[in-house]
Amino acid sequence: MPGVFQRLVGLETEYAIRAPVPDRPASSRSKFRQYEALVAALHRAVPTVAAKHFKEGVFTANGGAVWFEAERPSAGGGLIEGSTPECNGPREAILYQRAQDRLLSECAQRRHFQLLKNDRDACDNVYGAQESYEATIATGLMLLLWRVGLVLLFPVALLTWIGMGLFILATLAYFAIAGLVYLPYKLVTGGRESVALLLFGSDLVEGRETCIHVPVWLESTLQLATRILTAPLALALYGLIQLTAFRRIRRRLVPHVNSRPAIAGAGIVNVDGAFSISDKGPAINCLIGFGGMVGDRPMFSMGHFFKTAYAEAWFAPREYCDLFKSRQRLQIGLGDSNMCETAEYLRVGTTLLVLDAIEDGGFRHPPVVKRPIQALHRFCADATLIAQHALRDGQQVTALQLQRYYLAGCRAFLNRQRHVPAEAWDLVQLWEQTLDGLDRIRLNAELPESLIGTIDWVTKKLLLDKAGAEASWAERKKIDLRYHELSEDGYFAMLQASGHISRITDDAEVDRAMRLAPANSPATTRGRYIREFAHGQCPIRANWKAVFIGRRWGAKVIRLSRYGRTGARDGRDADAVPSPHRSDDAC
């Protein structure tokens, strides 16, 4: 796809919830309650509608979404996840990220808890940020292979759906039997809450949504059974992705993503006390994966393809057909949750530029890094930026040398273009200035003043260095974590309030982005429907693909693929809600 910044980009962030430690182990329930409280506050602040999705969530007036993310809800897990609307260009992406940060943190504080925008807790549990870029999955023979593979996989997907259906029937049968056993017990003894929780889980016991739909033991059993059931589909899909999906992009992008923590890392105090320049980088353990299915933490997360094949397409088979399209979502799992706008802007902007150059035929012969995951860990562990790693041709390179290679390639790419947005040149200039500043760290072993408040790991390292060597691990870790707290007591927030942080956005436009969707995006239409119908009589739900107005089977479906960039460019989407435009029509 030709052009500069002509692809959609979206950012996902998992925010940790800072909550007082409960007296008894019911933290999962309290975290879901906090999510509910946050959504209630959100609903008062901006129009919101329920998400039509297998995950608990809502979409907001600006076309973005907020979810309750829990890997193991009954075991105490639980995060607030925010997804920006689909944006055009890096500045817009970080504007909506900042709008999301502010909206969620204000709503959380109204309900007396705080959010942390970071990637790892004190026990090394990983979560955090992901980026999604619209990109061509394959062309020519590879695209044909991808599509043939999807056709061949369909019977496996079908069998998986049948198996999932049987699991649900078995679970319902279990509840029926458990009810028959528990009823006489309750009549005779009056019943005990612990027994009821063991048999039914807290949803049924409390008589309301707690996000713990089944007992703890059954959740573990079902999770294991689901993994076994979906394993054949997962393995086959993994093979197909490895063989065909984003092959050219992956090969040319890996050295950039590998060395990107130098400019966009958030920094972390590790469990052994050492400082790494990236919060998430040291946890990455493979190039491609589904993201957590078997303990994998991939650089490129393909979990959305798997979720579509085994879950989303089950409810809406059309979703499976969407996998055949050549333009798909490339998800990068290696990205830190940035507090500094400049670092976030560089993370997204440089990656967008590199992708544009790659799809234009650039970076044909990139430096091929030997053992890229090992290289990533080596670069992340080195705050002096002098660490080198071997390329396949035997040459040794630093992270900054790799970044300089991509900077030069992107500049050459822009010089070849007829129409270059001014933002692209500004970004290249900022990239170069940042690399110049980082070079001073490499040469002088000092943190340059120009990078304080622009690059997170440098700013955090300054705070840690000032705390001194005598500070305990817990004190250093508190500095690491509280830097990311989204409240006026957060350390980054304190620096920002005192004018020590460089801004790219301003408060007025962030305020606007909390309520209005970006133009020329599927979010434009989604956001408009949400604002129009959220407080009406007619039920409305939304997801990334469509808006559903009306009740269940009679609901009108507005597919957002019809209202993307093309529609907006001709002006039709800019000012009006496309028909059906009255809630009465749909109801």
């Binding site: 996902e12 998992e14 430690v21 026990c123 549990n125 004190e475 974590l481 005192s498």
Partner: protein, 50 residues
């Protein structure tokens, strides 16, 4: 386009307080010594995320 929604009015940019970097760093250092272990407990995310 008329909407049925009420949107909260907000104030825009506030002028930054003027505190030197040194003052902020000292404040951070002081606060970091205040029950750090409790803070680490309060911010745990069992099982992480995606």
């Amino acid at each position: 386009m008329a909407t049925k929604t009420q949107i909260e009015a907000r104030t825009a940019t506030t002028a930054p307080e003027t505190k030197s970097l040194e003052e902020i760093v000292n404040r951070v250092e002081h606060d970091s010594r205040d029950e750090p272990q409790a803070y680490l407990e309060e911010t745990k995310v069992p099982h992480g995320g995606e």
